[in-house]
Amino acid sequence: MMGNLNNYLVLAEKIFGVLGAIIYLIFALVIVKQVGTMSKNIKDKFNGLLIIFSYIHLAAAVLLVFIAWTVL
């Protein structure tokens, strides 16, 4: 009985973790899109660097989903 409950708790944790990571991934995608739009509107010296940072952030968000899926 307790073992089953524990299993359900672990599953719920995993679902919550993965869902949270997916929501964060969507947010990271929005940032990438928005930085692209901003850079198109306003062109300045550091636009390239900001785009790179947004993609690094997106990669980290993808990694978070992967870790949430495998580790939790």
């Binding site: 509107n41 306003i42 062109k43 010296k45 940072f53």
Partner: protein, 267 residues
């Protein structure tokens, strides 16, 4: 003799006085020579006119370039030159550009909020970044499984990075642009909200500035309110450095615009 030389009224039996062909040919030649001479004279006149108009154009161009040079000197004498690429005031920037700029429009000044406005979020970001290392001293944390701790820390750092990045982007892309034609305010709020407002220099009615509080007085930054007769009643340059210098630049540009209107040089 014929009754009339008018060919329409000549009867078939009338004897029309004819001139010898040679004379006609000679006259034709004379006429053609005259016409060639006339044509040459016309061409000469046209080229002379073209040269005069080109000279006038050249004079106008040199006048406008001289005016531009004088305007540049005035602006540089007021605001100075840009020293750092992260400066909140970019004077006649070479790299900066924006999508809505007309091809012949010149950017005079680009202003961003003063660097001091970033201090609050930088402090917050530093505290957020240091927080996980402080959690070691909280006894309950050790009871949480390692994999959850790792996930939580990773999530925490990502959120900290996203927070700092969003704040930086909001500062970096919040620009106030003064061109030789208009005043523009481009704002991006919370990554999902873009605002673009502009007013022609000739539509500006009143300019006021406000510097309030200790920080603004210490670091000399504040807001410049540009009231216009355009659709957007007011354009506000928020927290820009040296508001008095921005007002002076706007005054000079307005005077220049009025002079252009008087001289008929309006684009």
């Amino acid at each position: 003799m014929s009754r009339s030389l008018d060919l329409d009224t000549v009867a078939p039996d009338d004897q029309v006085e004819t001139k010898p062909i040679e004379n006609i040919e000679i006259k034709k030649k004379e006429n053609t020579q005259e016409s060639v001479l006339g044509k040459n004279l016309l061409i000469a006149d046209e080229t002379e006119k073209e040269l005069i108009t080109e000279e006038k154009r050249g004079n106008n161009a040199s006048d406008t370039s001289q005016n531009d040079d004088n305007l540049d000197k005035k602006i540089y004498s007021i605001v100075g030159h840009t020293t750092s690429p992260f400066s909140s005031l970019l004077i006649k920037p070479h790299v900066f550009d924006f999508e809505e700029r007309d091809s012949d429009e010149k950017i005079i000044l680009v202003a961003r909020p003063h660097w001091f406005t970033n201090v609050s979020w930088i402090i917050t970001a530093v505290v957020l970044a240091l927080a996980p290392s402080l959690l070691k001293f909280v006894p309950i944390i050790s009871d949480i499984p390692a994999k959850f701790q790792m996930m939580g820390i990773m999530f925490w750092y990502l959120i900290t990075f996203a927070f700092s990045f969003e704040k930086f982007l909001s500062w970096y892309f919040d620009v106030y642009i003064i061109t030789d034609e208009r005043v523009i305010d481009i704002e991006f709020n919370n990554l999902l909200n873009k605002k673009f407002s502009e007013a022609k220099l000739s539509m500006i009615q009143d300019i006021t500035s406000r510097v309030t509080g200790v920080a603004q007085t210490m670091f000399n930054y504040g807001s410049v309110y540009v009231q216009t007769a355009a659709e957007v009643p007011e354009i506000c340059f928020e927290m820009v450095p040296n508001p008095e210098k921005i007002i002076k630049v706007l005054q000079i540009l307005r005077e220049e615009e009025e002079r252009e209107a008087l001289e008929g040089r309006v684009k």
